[in-house]
Each structure stands twice: as C-alpha cells, then as structure tokens.
C-alpha cells in the first residue's frame, strides 16, 4: 500500500484515442477541469492511453505521485477496463481502484453539439472521480473450471471445433438435433471455388468425430436448459429416441430394406423433399453415425402398435431395433460452450412474382444442390420434375438478401454458390445458363478467377434483378412447362424476357428458426438480423455477452465453409484457453448482507434468481452464499434497510456517481 486509502489521491487520464476522442472533445480543457475535482492529484491527456507508453504513464505516476486511485477517460469499459486494471495492478494498486469514463462510444462518436459534448464529458469524468474516491480494494475469487466443452451443432463448424478441442485432449460433448452430423455442408456435391468433392472433405471429419475417444456424440438431441456460469455450466440435454441402438447397429441397412413399406413414400427432408424414404431410413448414405433412425410419426409399429416388425427380424441376433426406447434427459457439466447452430435458407414463397411453390420449374439453390449431389435423389443429374433435362436455366441472385423487404444484408456466399451452380449445371446439362445479378461479389482467394472461368464457360451474365417470372404460355411462348423471366438488363438498358426451363433462386442465409430460444438459453445477444452477436467484431469475434459461451459458423452471420472452419478453430482455441486455465477469477461484484442492519424481513430472499440468499433462522437475518451470487444487485435494490450491498455498486458509490454527474453543470 502506497498511501492511506481513506485519503484518496486520484490520477485522471484523458485519452485522445488518436482523433477519435480529441476530435470531438477538447481534451486539454477536460484535463484542466479534472484537476479541479476533489482528491485529484493530477490529470493528463495523452494520444493513446491503452498503448504501452500510455499505460506506463499511469504506472509511473502511481509510483512517483503515490496515486491510489485512477480514472481513465477513454473508450468503453467493455473494451479496455481490464487493460487499465492490469496496468494499475502491475504498479501496485488494487485493480478495483480504477474507474473508466466512457468518452469515446458515449460522447465523442455520437455527439452533435460540441458544447454539450464537452459538458457531458466533464460530467462523466466527474462522476468517475467522485465514485472512485469511495472505492475500496477488492479481491477476485477463483473457482475451478470444469475441463469439458459442450459443442452445440454438428455442422461443419461444430465438427471442426469438437475435433480441435478433442485433439487437444479435452472432453467434448457434441450435440446435434438431426440423426446425423454434417449440417448443410453434407447436402452439397461440390464446394466453391475449387469444386472439391464435399463428401471427400466432410466424411473423414464426421468419422473422426464418431471415433474420437474424447468426443461424446449425441445425435437426435437438443439442449433444453443451461444453468450456471463460465467455468461451470450445467446443460440439460434431451435425447430423442432413435429406436435403433447405436451401440449394437453396424449400419448394414438390412432393416431398411426389409421394412414393410416396400416403396419409399415419405419425403426426405435431407433431400429437401425431392427424394423419398421409408419410415426407417438413413438420411444419406454417408450419415454419421451410420445408424438408421425410425420416424415415429410414420412407423406402423410406433403409430398403431401393429406391424410384423420385419426390421426386427432383419436385424436378427443383433437386436439393435428397440421400440422400447424413450426420450430421456441427460445432464452434463461443462466449463465452456461453443454454439454452432448454423443457419437456414430463406423461404422464397412470399415473393409471389418469383413463382416458387407455384411453378414446378422454380427451385431453390439448396434443392439444386441436392439434384447435383451424386448421392442425392437424382444421383447427380440435373433434371426437372418430369425427368427431362432443362435446356435453358436461369439463376436469380440475391433472393431475400439485399432486399429491404426481407433481409437488408448481403448473404455473402450466394454469388459464389450461384457461380458454382451455373458452372455445374452448364457442365452437366449443356444448358444455356442465365445469371441475373445485381453485382457479383467474389472476394477471397481464387474467387474472382472462378468468376472469370464461369464467364468463359459461356454462362450469360445479365446485370439486373429478376423482376418477375411467368409461364411460357402466358407470354405466348411455345415451351411446354417453360417459364419466361422478365429482367431489366441494366447494362443493355432494356427489359429482357428470357425463356427458361428451370429457374434457380439463390436464396439468402438467415438465422435459424428457434435462434431466439437458443440465444436466451445461452445468455447471448443478437444482432438486429437475429444472428448471434459476437462480443466485439474485431477484438472478440467468437466471444459473446456470456463469458463462457462462444460462437462459430453461420449462426453468427452468413459465411462460407472456409470461414466457418476457421471461426470454429478460433472458438475452440478460446474454449481451450478458458478450460485449460484450470480456474477462473470471478468478478468481485457480489452482494453481501450487513448482519447488524438486516432485520430478516425476507424481502430479498425470493428475488434471487440463483437461490444465493437464505434466512439464517438462528440469527434471524439473511445471508448470501457468494459462490452462487452472480452480482446482479436485485436484492440490494429491494432491501429497505440498506443491509444488502453490492461490491463495486454500493448505494454510496452510486450516489457519489450521481452527484458527480450533476454537480458541475
């Protein structure tokens, strides 16, 4: 301890943030103002307080001037509070004797009126000074971290993250809602821009997950509830009955073949309804785990209870078919969570003039992906619903994206996947392919080159948004089952009508239905569009508002496979960094009860969402279990005796802050 703490000696540091703050607020004046505030020993302003020299400046002053409290007037405390706390700590004062005044996000970047901005800046600095004078040293408490990670979502991002973590020796629980791993990527035949075989990329990874001793794969499963906090979460996972025992099944498919349903009559969701399946089925041949699943809505045995159960017979001694299976709930304790729940594609049916759902020849891009897939319903042949091969195919870009009626954002991958589809369709059918685009966005390695290649392959690029599509008959064109697309060709400056046999809609990527529930369950926030919000776009792109919860893949925003994989690894690295630490320091802003002042009135007890408060029957007072307290302060605000207090947010500290905010104009 350098000086007696009850004699505050405060240093105030006003950051220019380059021109970010200094451009809007007279930092010199502000420092001069700060010098006149109570207990302020000195006030400086400096280019970049967060820089090494900036931090050193504070540290030197702490030592030379025996400062015992620091106010940094800079950017949001959510950005650099920890930085300055560490700097102060290194110089020998408790990190909780540092207070940040947020001048950048809250004043400089938003202010319209220079004088008002200067006044607000002064008020925020004065509030910080008044408040910090009453701060007392606090200690962070360490709690052990459970060295296990929950990965939610078995798409490419979830798979990647799980493998990286497991390879580092951490236990992983991977939860997938569907009966198989793979997500959207498993539906594709080729990837862009290199046109690699998707199955060749994905299948080994899926198998690796299945075989990894550190990964527990839970398919047909969903997280129901999450409790706890960073370092120790308890997740309740509901596991739907598959009716086929994963441990016993060898994936011979005899049961599927022997099912009483002799023909496949149920639309296969994995094929977007373009292919059919039986009540017992494998979503696709490379599914992992390679275990069939029984559709409880369609299976005769499960629906009516009456069936010859030829599947059971087919399985024979293995006895893997198990109709007694029931849904059950498992609880797992984990230290960190990676959310990789992916996206869904935009449903274009609301755009009536594009005719989706009305004209059989209008397809979504994802449907065409299935047609192109060698393991898909048409074994890779691009054919219309009547089995004929199209001779003219239109591809409409930006369906549901860059459209203020639907999604204002650019879905980022549509241009490239549209180019891929154009290439593949032309390659496999020789059809004329027309691409209706607003502009082609092809950033990234080898993408522009791929665009050129597709152009050279003879695909017609028409710059203009598809206006509408009608039947050939309406337009007086003799083309059975055909369509006529109307498009304003902005390069030629005329409206063109183009006869087509097939129209592909390059639909947007959007947040999954249910993303809201997931967001709440994991304590995250969402961007406006509904994608999960990263903590900071640059500094913490895979972190979220909830410290132990990380995001990866397209649930955070549209992205391609490469980016999803990269982000998954980043999330895995963050999770690893967290659980590998072994313990975590909790913020000390927990509540406590002044036992002399507490009357045991029980007002606070039902308020605590974490059951951290109880009444000590002997003393007739309330007590806080600090291990359970998360520091919301709801009990403190309710206490009519001021017996409940919250560290870092005591009544007095907040009154001081209010007074500081308003005492100087």
């Amino acid at each position: 301890m350098i000086t007696a703490l009850d004699q505050p000696r405060i240093g105030v540091y006003v950051c220019h943030c380059g021109g970010n703050i200094a451009g809007a607020i007279p930092v010199g004046d502000l420092a001069a103002f700060a010098r006149g505030l109570p207990h302020v020993v000195l006030a400086r302003h400096y280019k970049y307080m967060c820089s090494h020299p900036g931090q050193q400046l504070i540290q030197q002053d702490i030592v030379l001037l025996q400062l015992n409290r620091v106010v940094v007037a800079a950017c949001s405390p959510l950005v650099h509070e920890k930085t300055f706390q560490r700097a102060a700590e290194d110089a020998g004062i408790n990190p909780f004797l540092v207070q940040i005044a947020n001048l950048r996000e809250h004043v400089a970047w938003v202010a319209t009126d220079a004088e008002l901005a200067a006044r607000k800046a002064k008020a925020q600095v004065a509030a910080a000074v008044h408040r910090v004078a009453g701060h007392r040293p606090l200690e962070r408490k360490a709690v052990p971290i459970t060295p296990r990670v929950l990965v939610v979502g078995g798409g490419i991002a979830g798979i990647q993250a799980a493998l990286t973590l497991a390879d580092a020796g951490k236990e992983v629980i991977l939860v997938e809602r569907e009966p198989t791993l793979g997500g959207h990527v498993a539906m594709f035949d080729k990837t862009f821009p290199g046109l690699e075989c998707t199955a060749c990329v994905l299948t080994p990874k899926m198998t690796a997950v299945k075989d990894h001793p550190k990964i527990r794969l839970l398919t047909c499963s969903e997280v129901q509830a999450v409790e706890g906090t960073v370092g120790k979460y308890r997740a309740r996972i509901r596991r739907r009955a598959r009716y086929v025992n994963e441990d016993l099944c060898v994936g011979c498919m005899r049961c599927v073949e022997e099912c009483l349903f002799t023909s496949e009559t149920i639309p296969n969701a994995f094929d977007r309804g373009l292919g059919m399946r039986k009540p017992i089925y494998m979503p696709f041949p490379q599914a992992v785990p390679r275990v069939p699943v029984i559709d409880r809505e369609a299976c005769l045995r499960l629906v009516t209870g009456k069936c010859a159960q030829s599947c059971v017979e087919a399985c024979g001694e293995r006895g893997a078919i198990d109709f007694r299976q029931e849904d059950r709930v498992e609880e797992h304790e984990v230290g960190a969570i990676i959310v990789a729940t992916g996206f869904q594609t935009f449903d274009p049916s609301p755009i009536a003039h594009y005719g989706y759902g009305r004209y059989p020849a209008v397809y979504t891009a994802l449907e065409v992906e299935r047609l192109l897939n060698a393991a898909g319903p048409t074994e890779g042949k691009v054919v219309l619903r009547d089995g004929s091969t199209p001779k003219a195919v239109g591809i409409a870009h930006c369906v549901g994206s860059r459209d203020h009626h639907y999604h204002a954002y650019c879905s980022r991958v549509c241009c490239m996947y549209s180019l891929k589809l154009a290439h593949l369709i032309r390659e496999r059918t020789g059809a004329e392919v027309y691409s209706f685009y607003i502009d082609i966005r092809a950033p990234g390695k080898a993408c522009e080159e791929f665009y050129e290649e597709v152009q050279q392959a003879g695909v017609h690029f028409i710059r203009g948004k598809l206006a509408e599509v009608g039947t050939a008959a309406e337009h007086g064109v003799d083309r059975p089952g055909g369509l006529v697309a109307t498009v304003d060709d902005t390069l030629q400056g005329r409206v063109r009508r183009i006869a087509l046999d097939m129209l592909v809609l390059s639909v947007a990527l959007e947040p999954r239905e249910g993303a809201e529930t997931i967001r709440r369950m994991f304590g995250m926030t969402c961007s406006n569009e509904g994608f999960f919000q990263e903590k900071h776009p640059k500094l913490a792109p895979v972190n979220t508002a909830n410290d132990g919860v990380l995001v990866a893949g397209a649930c955070q925003g549209p992205k391609d496979i490469a980016d999803s994989v990269a982000q998954a690894d980043a999330a895995a690295a963050q999770a690893l960094a967290l659980v590998d630490r072994g313990q975590i320091d909790l913020e000390p802003n927990t509540a406590w009860i002044d036992q002399d002042a507490c009357s045991g009135c029980k007002t606070c007890i039902p308020l605590c969402p974490y059951h951290a408060l109880r009444r000590d029957e002997e003393r007739r007072t309330a007590v806080v279990d600090e291990a359970l307290c998360k520091g919301c302060g709801v009990c403190v605000a309710a206490c009519p005796s001021a017996a409940a207090q919250q560290r870092l947010f005591t009544d007095q500290q907040i009154y001081d802050e209010i007074e500081g905010l308003l005492s100087y104009g």
Binding site: C598, S599, C601, K602, P606, A638, P640, A642
Partner: protein, 330 residues
C-alpha cells in the same frame, strides 16, 4: 454536580410527543429528581421570554417536537438551538416532518384556499376573509406568524444533535434517553436514539411470512378480515415494517394493524418512502408487465402511504411546481 437542565418545546406539533412524556408516569417523577426541567410549555408556566432570558447553551438538552411550518416555528427552533447545548429532534414531525408534512403535497396557497376560501361545505365565512400576518384592529395591530411555503423538519432549519423518533416516540425510548442523560451514557452526537434495525427483526409474525414473492393482490384493511397471527404482507396488506426502525414494541401490529412507518428508516436509508416502495414493489408476484401495472395501481395512494410521516424529510421534500393538489392521478 448540578442537575442537567432539560427542556421540552414544540413547534408545529400535535402535543402527542409531550403526552408521551407524561406517559413516563412514575418515571417522570424519578427524572424530575435528577433532571432540572427548565422548559415545558405544555405542562409548565415558562414563557418564551424565560427561554430568551437563558444564557446561550444553558440548557443541556432541548427536546423539540413538531415540524417547522411558520416563521414562528423557525424562530423557536433557532432559539432552542442557541439555548441548548444538544438539540434533540423529538418525535417524527421534528425528525421527518410527520403527518402534517403531507401538506407538502400541496402549495401553501391551495391549503389556505381549502381552509378559508372554499365554501365546500357551505359554512365558510363569506367574503373570503383570511388570517393575515398583521391585522389592524381598533386597538392596535395583531400579528400572526407567516406560514412557510413548505413544512420542514427541525434538522432542515437548525443543526440537530440527536433524533428520538416515533409518532409519538415510544415511552421506553424516552425513558432510555433521559436515563442516558442522567448517567452520561448517551451515544455520540448524530445518533438516533432507537434501535438501528427494522421492525421485522422482532416481529411476532415474521415466521408466518413466506420466503417466496407474496403480493398477488393488494388489499385495503377495511375490505377484509385481518388475521391476527399472519404477516400482513402475506395477507396482501401493506405493512411498512420491513422499512421501519424498530423500537415501538410493535404496538400497531399487536393492535392487529400494519405498520405505517412512524419511526422512519434505519440509518442506511436515505429516503424512507422510496426504500419502502422498493421493498413492497419487489414482493409483487408477477412477471407480466401489464399485470404488474394493474397490481401496483391497486395501491390507492402511494405518496400518502410511503411518505405518511416523512415527506418533508424525503429527497423531494415537497411537491414540484405545477398545478396544486396532492390527490393521486390515474
């Protein structure tokens, strides 16, 4: 050693605090042996001039009851401050403003208008005669003190050394304070001479208060039978015991009526009404915002309920400008 000189005086008061001193009964005679009561207008013939004749600081302790409402109250407060070494804000009116402090819900003008101007009941004197600061009568001038715009606490016009709270102060606390004066064992100045914990601590009904949120409906005491054993809040009746300083031996609660907060807050609380409000609202058992609004609307008179005794001493002190009238608005 000479006996400590003690005075009792009153400003805008109902006399209940003085009655509470009478209620010391036999103890009062005891104290009269060891204390020299030099001022007590309610019970003894000492006039203002007798106080003025005292030397500054001559009284050791002056117990001043009543709120500060008029120029005369202010003068008396100042006089007692000067003549007493230690000034005790005696009773809730002196401490926080008391029930008459509810007058701060209205302007002085609207108050005079109601009392002297409005012929609400048809029996007011015609011609709008009102009391005047100075009235010329044939024989001379008769003057009245002017009313201040707001009711104030004693501590808002003079420095106060001690507070003895309550409406009236519980006799037990008065006896303890006088005994401490006799024995020289008073706590340091700025103390409140009462326990510093809320009423629930010793409440006979606390065990019947559930741990869960409990306000599903708000009842008014005249509308329902009141269970004589169960926590009032658990019955849906507003009881301010959780926010109110102990020391009254739960007189109202024993009388089967909820606490209305007359002893004021414990020492950590800045604004009794807001603190009590927070505690009560926190008990509302609903997560639906409309239902919450409907439920709290069942409290017919929040200001009169939470500031029954403490409006002048509250942070807001008085109704802000704008049209007068302290009734609740929808």
């Amino acid at each position: 050693m000479s006996k400590p000189k003690v005075g009792f005086t009153w400003c805008a008061s109902c006399g209940g605090c003085d009655e509470a001193v009478f209620d010391l009964a036999e103890d009062l005679l005891q104290f009269a042996d060891s204390l020299d009561i030099v001022l007590w207008p309610c019970a003894m013939d000492f006039k203002r001039s007798d106080i003025e004749a005292m030397q500054d600081g001559e009284m050791s302790f002056c117990f001043a009851s009543g709120a500060i409402r008029s120029s005369e109250d202010r003068e008396m407060a100042a006089l007692c401050r000067r003549k007493a070494r230690w000034l005790v804000a005696f009773g809730t009116c002196a401490h926080l403003g008391g029930v008459p402090g509810l007058a701060n819900l209205d302007s002085r003008e609207s108050l005079l208008q109601t009392v002297y101007g409005d012929a609400l009941f048809g029996n007011a004197s015609p011609g709008q005669v009102r009391p005047q600061h100075a009235t010329e009568v044939p024989e001379g001038t008769v003057s009245l003190p002017t009313l201040d715009e707001s009711v104030k606490t004693l501590g808002q016009v003079v420095r106060v050394d001690y507070v003895l709270p309550g409406c009236p102060p519980p006799t037990r606390l008065i006896a303890a304070a006088l005994a401490a004066i006799v024995e020289g064992t008073l706590p340091p100045p700025s103390s409140v001479l009462a326990p510093d914990v809320a009423l629930c601590k010793q409440c006979p009904r606390i065990e019947s208060k559930p741990d869960g949120p409990l306000l599903r409906e708000l009842r008014r005491p005249h509308e329902h039978e009141i269970d004589p054993e169960q926590c009032f809040l658990a019955q849906g009746l507003l009881c301010l015991g959780p926010a109110t300083r102990d020391g009254c031996d739960h007189a109202c609660i024993r009388g089967n009526m909820p606490c209305t907060g007359c002893l004021g807050p414990t020492s950590g609380t800045r604004d009794f009404g807001a603190a009590a409000l927070s505690a009560v609202a926190s008990l509302v058992d609903s997560h639906d915002e409309h239902q919450i609004a409907a439920l709290v609307a069942e409290i017919p008179d929040p200001a009169g309920t939470f500031y029954r005794y403490s409006l002048p001493g509250s942070m807001l002190h008085k109704r802000a400008g704008g049209p007068a009238g302290g009734g609740p608005r929808p």
